[in-house]
Assembly symmetry: C2
């Protein structure tokens, strides 16, 4: 069975989940469809629905930071807080959609997450995205051209719209059949559900 893993490179929780999902999937005999989601589009839609973007309070902000640090300790993951946060990731996200269509979605997503949250590289920069494409042994010139094509932009937006239409509102989200599981803390529960549905 295939599950979907929805992510956005801006989210440190998605980074943590991105490092855990494949091992979990393998141990449950599942494969992963790496689906980029544009959080910006989701948030814009939310505020159009009359739900204002909620600024995290100081306490929430502190909590999340500590929570993510603990999750990295717990999972043996490296973490270097990006000196820019959040970094614009539209180009990287569009490229992630191309990579998904071409079958190297996981590899590229791992590269970008690690660049942002481990190596503190500015993933908003075209030359950094190009480097990461090359690290996946793909030709950066033609991939970037494709990523920025009208055709890809449109197909990617449609893919995001479909996600919103089925109720996805944040990242990371795992989809198992018709069930959504939101948050890194839900991965185990998602795969437990998959076993239940078998």
């Amino acid at each position: 069975m295939q599950i979907q893993f929805w992510f956005d490179f801006a989210s440190p929780y998605a980074y943590v989940a991105s490092e855990r999902i494949e091992t979990l999937a393998r141990s449950h005999g599942a494969t992963v469809d790496w689906c980029p989601l544009l959080l910006g589009v989701v948030l814009k839609r939310k505020s159009a629905d009359g739900s204002p973007f909620q600024r995290a309070t100081e306490a929430e902000h502190r909590y999340r930071r500590r929570d993510i640090e603990r999750l990295c300790i717990r999972n043996g993951l490296p973490l270097v807080w990006p000196t820019g946060f959040p970094r614009g990731s539209l180009l990287a996200m569009r490229t992630a959609y191309v990579a998904r269509e071409q079958g190297w979605g996981r590899e590229f997503a791992n590269q970008v997450f690690r660049a942002n949250f481990v190596h503190d590289r500015d993933i908003a920069k075209t030359e950094v995205v190009a480097d990461l494409i090359e690290a996946c042994k793909r030709p950066s010139g033609s991939v970037l051209e494709l990523a920025q094509s009208e055709e890809n932009k449109k197909a990617f937006l449609e893919h995001v719209e479909q996600a919103i239409a089925r109720g996805i509102f944040g990242v990371p989200t795992v989809v198992v059949g018709d069930e959504l599981f939101w948050g890194n803390d839900k991965l185990e529960e998602a795969f437990e559900w998959l076993e239940r549905e078998r």
Copy 2:
């Protein structure tokens, strides 16, 4: 070691956690301090800080409902959605503070959570709270009087203020030493941390 479990009777996630916390604590050799938190006070403070209360979108609302239903299935817990939601729980919360001070905090909290989320009883009503006190084999008259005394109101508010001052912003929250763990999904991680700190 003792951990704190912060709850509010309005929260279905706190209900789920309230049914799981003692078993987990026992299996890790810990005891639980059952601490009522007034979510209303927390939210008022938040909006005073310029962070408006965020109305959940339709999608988020649907998700949470399903999430809680799945959590109950997963944990073998009964759930009957309250026909009134959220129910005013100020009197029950004040009583929970009295119960905590008198050493029957857990018993009373379990009674109220189950009344609200299993038996669909209106926990906003004084006679229902009285019943639940009696179910704990305590005299409802004198307990209710104490719960509504100025002294108890003041002590309870101070206890809530201290929680806010140390960074608690939601329920359920588990406190292990200096570490906060927010959300029912975090219980296992909290006790894992406790083992780490030993």
